[in-house]
């Protein structure tokens, strides 16, 4: 026993000594990202979570259009330029020449990126009779969420470097959709080769893209490795190796960042923010997220069908108290349905003041006395609402002061959304994180008359809806801005939501990292990152 113990002790001691002097790869720049979870896979059209996109779309792939890092401005990607027809029904994309594909053990590309790849990438998701449609489970959730199937009428190859997409109805935000991760372009040549070999799923498991990093290996739940792609069309990334060290627990991830085992982590615990801001080795980056948290009034139900009741209940809530207690400084007051970082945000809109006395008077004017209602609170923390239960309690207390008796209701997350969709609530807390940086993606999706799927307020205002529809039809940014600004005024006057907050996103990054920017859409982009 004694010798055994000694042996183990010696082994551990030796391990400690050797580990400290582990070989350093000084010449090779390796960036380690403590990612928050394992990706479901490496095809961004099949796997639709942010974790999946960081691991595939943002590292391995490109899209026809891209978001400029740090903004939601749509800039050329694999398409060098595009033109819209006058009726807004068709878009012609001129593709970039000389874009190289990655290679791996099973595939060496014989040609550059061209129109066939674009057709393959979209038709696979769109056409159920496409040979690749059912491969790897065939669930193209984001394609469905963005209603791409309904929007598209046809995709044609004009020549090797020109593609024309025709829509069923004018839809100005369409190009923004093409910059989204699910619209990443995959190699048709690789797909053909794997189909011939009878291993179609390899296309999704051993990904090939045109992006800044080549996929090297993935050990489930442990680590994903990438290397810089020397022939990347924007220029080779400055770091040589990119490692995702999968670390689910946020407290542990923060320990790893402090210990220098990771260069940065996403989504820190709010409780750790203060320590992060004081740590001399860390830059705590922050940016307002492209999101909104709100309380929706079910406008199909009395008395919430009366605009005065919605206005009164809005005036009765102390928004600042919610920001202090629930967001602890990591949120800014919301007055519009879109966040202030988004183009067309109307800063002239005046929010309802916190005024319980006026609220009480307005309720009386609407003939509402002794109102009994409910507040639905989400069971989960989301970026736009870190603690819905607490928020509901604060609102409940505020309403009690004007004689409104509200009960707090909660369900499991999936059921919560299903019941809201069925309209079972009086008022419900929810929120939204933008997909493509277009105001349409907030206002039309969440408040449009057709948005039966996600209109929590079940509110349909013809004036508001008409403005949004007009904004869909024109691709002139100035005209669209004017229309959305008006729509925000209508929204505030009608008060279908009590707009709560836009949350701030934080990223602790070690001081030796340069060139990292927080992306408003939440993606983590490492192609411009360098290490000092």
């Amino acid at each position: 026993m004694k010798t055994k113990l000694l042996g183990v002790a010696a082994g551990i001691a030796a391990a400690a000594v050797i580990a400290v002097s582990a070989p350093s790869e000084a010449a090779v720049k390796t960036f380690v990202f403590c990612s928050e979870g394992s990706p479901g896979g490496f095809n961004p059209s099949l796997h639709s979570a942010g974790t999946d996109f960081d691991a595939s779309a943002q590292t391995i792939n490109n899209r026809l259009a891209e978001f400029e890092p740090g903004t939601t401005k749509v800039v050329p990607g694999l398409a060098e330029s595009w033109t819209a027809s006058d009726d807004g029904l068709s878009y012609t994309f001129h593709l970039r020449k000389g874009v190289k594909w990655h290679s791996n053990d099973q595939f060496t590309p014989t040609r550059d990126f061209n129109a066939d790849d674009v057709l393959f990438s979209f038709n696979r998701q769109w056409k159920e009779d496409h040979p690749y449609n059912p491969v790897s489970g065939g669930k193209y959730l984001y394609f469905g969420w963005m209603d791409m199937g309904t929007a598209l009428s046809s995709i044609e190859k004009i020549d090797d470097y020109t593609v024309k997409m025709t829509l069923n109805a004018p839809d100005a935000p369409f190009v923004s959709n093409l910059a989204m991760d699910f619209a990443s372009i995959l190699s048709a040549e690789y797909a053909d080769k794997m189909a011939a070999a009878g291993t179609m799923e390899t296309v999704d498991d051993a990904p090939i893209g045109t992006g800044p990093f080549e996929f090297v290996s993935y050990k489930k739940d442990a680590v994903i490795r990438y290397k810089a792609f020397d022939q990347y069309w924007e220029g080779r990334p400055k770091i040589d190796k990119l490692v995702f060290a999968i670390t689910v627990d946020k407290s542990v991830a923060w320990q790893k960042v402090q210990a220098g085992e990771c260069h940065m982590m996403p989504y820190p615990n709010p409780a750790d923010l203060e320590a992060m801001s004081k740590n001399p080795d860390i830059n705590l980056l922050s940016q307002e997220g492209l999101n909104v948290g709100y309380l929706g009034f079910n406008a199909e139900r009395a008395p919430f069908d009366d605009v005065r009741v919605r206005q009164a209940l809005s005036m009765a809530i102390n928004k600042q108290a919610i920001l202090d207690v629930v967001f602890k400084g990591a949120g800014s007051a919301a007055k519009n349905p879109i966040p202030p970082t988004m183009w067309s945000y109307n800063d002239d809109v005046v929010d309802y003041p916190y005024d319980p006395a006026a609220a009480k008077a307005l309720l009386a004017e609407a003939g509402v006395n002794g109102l009994k209602t409910n507040i639905w609170a989400m069971p989960v923390a989301r970026p736009y609402n870190p603690n819905a239960r607490r928020m509901a309690e604060l609102i409940q207390a505020d309403w009690a002061k004007i004689g409104v008796d509200a009960e707090i209701v909660s369900y499991e997350w999936g059921e919560y959304r299903e019941r809201i969709r069925a309209g079972e609530h009086d008022t419900a807390l929810l929120g939204w994180t933008g997909d493509n940086g277009d105001p349409d993606n907030f206002m039309f999706v969440l408040l449009g008359c057709e948005a039966a799927k996600s209109n929590v307020a079940r509110w349909c205002n013809t004036r508001f809806d008409g403005l949004l529809r007009a904004a869909k039809k024109t691709s002139d940014p100035a005209e669209r801005t004017a229309l959305y600004e008006q729509a925000q005024l209508v929204f505030k006057r009608e008060a279908p939501w009590f707009t709560v907050a836009h949350s701030v996103q934080f990223r602790p990054v070690r001081k030796e990292v340069v060139g990292f920017k927080i992306h408003p859409l939440g993606s983590h982009i490492f192609k411009y990152v360098d290490l000092k």
Binding site: V8, A22, P23, E25, G40, Q255, Y411, W413
Partner: protein
């Protein structure tokens, strides 16, 4: 011996079906489904929802789903994960060695400390040492694993900087999986320092996962020893004037070991349950972390396949322990 084996297997059959029923039913009782879990706030239309569920075969009547599930399992098909679209068995086999490696090290740690501590406490019965050891083991037994893990990380990794925070091996090493056991694979490969790094990464998780079994082993060893120490043959041995080492080591410990081995065998279940939390804290890529993630994402097929595979492992170990017990103590073979 043969009839004993048949007897044990006959008992395992209903247990196996019970497990399939529970793991099938348990994940379906939870509200939500895999599609809703994937959707976030993007509520999808009932048509899209139904179409996706039908793609997964979740629109069929429950009895039919269960029947397919059982008949597939009996053919060695444990289903396909909704999230990754890979066979559940493949995912399990990829991750299982990591859990076994961690559990083995945790067990070695628990035995190396628990056994001597238990013997010492029994020998020094009703002294300060006995009470101290039993007190500490009670604390160890009641320690919330999550808190204990974070505490050790903060002390040893962050303040003292002695151990890595989490993971299985430094990201500098890309060890080629041969057996799946990193300690072995790193020795087989040619990357210098990989073995040391793997061993180094094992220290804290092994301590955290081994703490509860350690406490149990210490307490059980103590009580088994006390029982044996009051036997006539021990008294006789003492009366013969044998040295304490011979009395305790040769006569008492050998007999006490029968109970202790059983207890150690039973810890397999405790270790696998503890692995769920330990693996989450230490980002250890094993089956515990995988199962918990699958439950959260309502990955029905991963949960119902994974739980059955885990149950098969526990049942196999219990069967082996039973057989070993029978070999050590042949009376058992005849009394059943």
């Amino acid at each position: 011996m043969f009839s004993f084996l048949v007897n044990r297997l006959a008992i395992l059959a209903p247990v196996f079906f019970g497990v399939t029923l529970l793991s099938f039913g348990f994940i379906r009782i939870l509200p939500g489904d895999p599609i809703l879990a994937l959707s976030g706030e993007r509520s999808i239309s009932p048509e899209q929802h139904a179409a996706l569920l039908s793609k997964l075969g979740l629109d069929k009547p429950l009895w039919e789903q269960y029947f397919n599930y059982i008949s597939n399992i009996l053919q060695g098909d444990f289903g396909t994960s909704v999230l990754t679209n890979r066979p559940v068995l493949d995912e399990f086999l990829e991750l299982f060695p990591a859990t076994v490696e961690l559990a083995t090290c945790a067990m070695i740690f628990a035995i190396l400390i628990g056994l001597p501590a238990g013997i010492f406490a029994a020998v020094k019965r009703r002294t300060f040492y006995d009470q101290g050891i039993m007190g500490i083991s009670l604390v160890g037994y009641s320690m919330p694993i999550f808190w204990w893990g974070l505490l050790l990380i903060i002390l040893f990794s962050n303040i003292l900087g002695w151990t890595p925070v989490s993971g299985r091996v430094s990201f500098l090493f890309d060890v080629e999986p041969v057996t799946g056991f990193l300690l072995i694979d790193s020795l087989l490969g040619d990357e210098e320092g990989a073995f040391a790094s793997a061993l180094h990464h094992l220290i804290l998780p092994s301590i955290v996962l081994g703490t509860i079994p350690l406490a149990i082993i210490a307490r059980q060893t103590r009580s088994a020893m006390l029982e044996v120490l009051s036997e006539d043959y021990v008294r006789t041995a003492r009366a013969k004037g044998l040295s304490p080492i011979r009395v305790y080591g040769l006569h008492a410990l050998r007999n006490a070991m029968i109970t202790v081995i059983t207890v150690i065998g039973l810890q397999v279940g405790v270790l696998l349950a503890g692995a769920i939390l330990t693996e989450t804290i230490f980002s250890w890529p094993g089956i515990g972390k995988w199962i918990i993630f699958s439950v959260f994402s309502r990955d029905y097929f991963a949960v119902q396949g994974g739980l059955v595979l885990i149950a098969i492992c526990i049942m196999s170990v219990n069967l082996i322990v039973d057989l070993m017990y029978g070999l050590i103590n042949p009376r058992i073979l005849h009394t059943r």
